[in-house]
Assembly symmetry: C2
Homo-oligomer: 426 residues x 2
């Protein structure tokens, strides 16, 4: 039994063996018998909606520097994944991609029209939708260009953060009506094989979806993380197309038309078709499911470790195919791998938290993770993905603005000076 | 195949048979081929943190009218359960119970001291805690006085809402360090059987906890729904004692002392001991787990149904014992019951969403739900609970301010005029 006066010393000496943890330099300095007076009491009544501690400043950042793509796009913001705990992304920190201005819809006037190749064209008020059978499911949404080297080539610094490079993904509990329920009401005519969905933004954002997916797990959602959708997430109603790239999940949804062929709307052609060396001079137009991916979010680029010793490596993994079955972490640049702990809750097509205990000895190391999903797809290394898609150099990657679905393993280099850098290319 | 011009008519006539849903008067008026121009585009840039649609006003309300208990308590606010979708309660809408003023702690100065009957007294900075092995789990928190008739006897109107009567419960994804991990670091001396935890609020809120529970599933949490705790939820660090009554989950946690006997701190004695007729002239001091409970949140008190026809009845069920196994709903005052659908995600000691399709014929009816948990405990009716606890009349209930853990089924009366009223007592 240790004396009360030897807390710090004994902790440091006996930490590893005693606790089963590779605990090193965790700063546990005080050993006095009474608690230190560190509180600052500022008498205050109930906090207002949206008010955080004044010490908490985590926020979204612009995906592109000012001036880049500004003519084409509305707000584009990345989520601060390095600060997110657990699997839920708070709604006010959810990434944003919009093609034009955000509508300011009066929910009393809102209508969703479903028409085209249906037996009974119908339009639904928000109240109608809320009366119908609902579901709540936890799913990620990810921009199809998230992580794409062509999309962050403008970032010159290797001090880029996980938010800069990969912040175009988020995860929420979504509540709404399965689209299949609405189609039971309207009926579907023979030959109705595709949908065209349109948003109420100024640009009338339009996207096509095969009806097989629509009848599988697509939802018309009005709730996000327990409350109404935020305006930049489609208030009052959006599509939610689980596991597929973000652009399918049309925001401010105002109409769905059932049609007999794929449409090639501006939004899905000019900006969303894929070009890659392996495709030659052709573009790929329809590309659906987001691939298996993982990221170490802590420690990650731009952070500085306080010192040697124990850390929990923590990150997020997800796959459009369903459940993440396995995440491996390497702390030596990929030479050896350990199975990370998959931390509950685990949901299909949802961010999944993984963790691994790690003791840093102070030397330069490269940290990375790779995930495997329920279809046994394994997240590729940059070399593997380059070979598959025909990219020969960093420059060919960076000039390929539309090499979407990039899921190569992200490497973070921890330097001897405790700083952490993007090491994707080195 | 219906003509496009007969949408509304056919929907109403054929709804039930066609869709397998008891759809009645859902207002689906328009049948034109193009979407109505209901949008109001208000060009706007990125929304700030915490900014909602100006049409969304759901918020917390005071648990007591002004003047009641004001001398004793800090902020007390109830969550708008009638507006919450899914199972997650948004952090800014989470219920609040505080005994004094809220601290405004600088996270750089924060320390958690663990001392008393330990081998090595240690104090942890916030950064220390974040470096240690973490867990994220979805759990409810509930005020032990939530729903207690003595606590809402001041509400004279039977038009009270589910927020007024039962809004002292909420559910979050919590992220933090298991307390057992911290005790591995400090070691535990023989005889250390209880904890005394203290908050950094002006009143030094103090509560006792048996160490068996602490080593089971108690967490020291810093994250709620993906972000830092809100100030009124204990920023930067609180205890989270899953399934047990709210007061155990000490906010603004500044010290944990391991002791050899239960302490009877002011906070757990004066305000939190139980008095009931079946206990005679004794008070019950330690009472831990919250019982199985369910509430229909929609339709619920204070709402008005738009008209006859199809509705999804939706509500929340939870139990401190673990998983909710079954929820039954009655739409005839308890004469007959139907199994509700348990809507995923389902977690232990967490709010669980249930739903049941219902067609309202316009007559006066009483809606209620009852839940059964994994221990086969069934939520009691008011009569059953009255017998068990020795309450003979409504008046004895209303004057018993400390008849905590009230979990009788909540009855909502839908009137012919479409209004909905609290029918607990009638």
């Amino acid at each position: 039994m240790g004396s009360n006066r030897t807390g710090r010393r004994r902790f440091l000496e006996r930490g590893v063996a005693m606790a089963g943890l590779a605990v090193g330099a965790v700063r546990t300095a005080s050993s006095q018998e009474s608690a230190p007076e560190t509180r600052e009491v500022n008498p205050k009544g109930p906090y207002a909606y949206g008010e955080r501690s004044r010490f908490v400043t985590s926020g979204r950042t612009n995906d592109y520097p000012k001036g880049v793509f500004q003519g084409m796009f509305g707000p584009r913001q990345n989520a601060p994944l390095q600060d997110v705990a657990g699997i839920i992304t708070p709604a006010p920190l959810h990434f944003v991609r919009s093609h034009s201005t955000l509508p300011d819809t009066d929910p009393q006037k809102y209508r969703l029209l479903i028409h085209g190749l249906v037996d009974r064209p119908l339009d639904f008020s928000l109240e109608d939708l809320k009366r119908l059978p609902s579901e709540s499911r936890i799913h990620f949404l990810e921009c199809q260009g998230n992580s794409s080297p062509g999309h962050h080539a403008h970032r010159k610094s290797d001090f880029a953060t996980v938010q800069d490079l990969h912040g175009g993904t988020s995860c929420s509990e979504w509540t709404g009506v399965p689209l299949s329920v609405l189609f039971k009401e309207t009926g579907l005519k023979k030959g109705g094989t595709w949908l065209v969905s349109e948003g109420a933004d100024a640009g009338r954002y339009t996207y096509t979806l095969p009806i097989a997916k629509a009848l599988d797990d697509v939802m018309v959602v009005y709730g996000q993380n327990g409350e109404a959708l935020r305006p930049d997430q489609g208030y009052p109603v959006r599509l939610l197309v689980p596991g597929w790239e973000g652009p399918y999940s049309v925001k401010w949804l105002r109409q769905i038309k059932v049609v007999d062929q794929p449409y090639m709307a501006w939004d899905e052609a000019i900006q969303h078709s894929i070009s890659r060396p392996d495709l030659g001079d052709k573009s790929r137009w329809y590309h659906f499911e987001m691939p298996v991916k993982s990221l170490i979010t802590r420690p990650s680029g731009g952070q500085t470790l306080p010192g040697r010793g124990f850390y929990e490596i923590s990150g997020l993994a997800w796959s459009g195919a369903g459940v993440v079955r396995r995440v491996e972490v390497s702390t030596d640049g990929g030479r050896t791998w350990k199975d990370a702990k998959i931390q509950g809750p685990v949901h299909r097509k949802a961010h999944t938290r993984f963790t691994l205990p790690w003791s840093w000895d102070g030397s330069e190391v490269v940290l990375l993770s790779r995930a495997t999903d329920e279809r046994s797809e394994v997240q590729p290394s940059l070399d593997e993905l380059s070979k598959r898609w025909g990219f020969s150099t960093k420059e060919t990657w960076e000039t390929a603005d539309h090499a979407f679905h990039f899921n190569a393993t992200q490497r973070w280099r921890v330097m001897g000076d405790r700083s952490i850098h993007d090491a994707m290319w080195s």
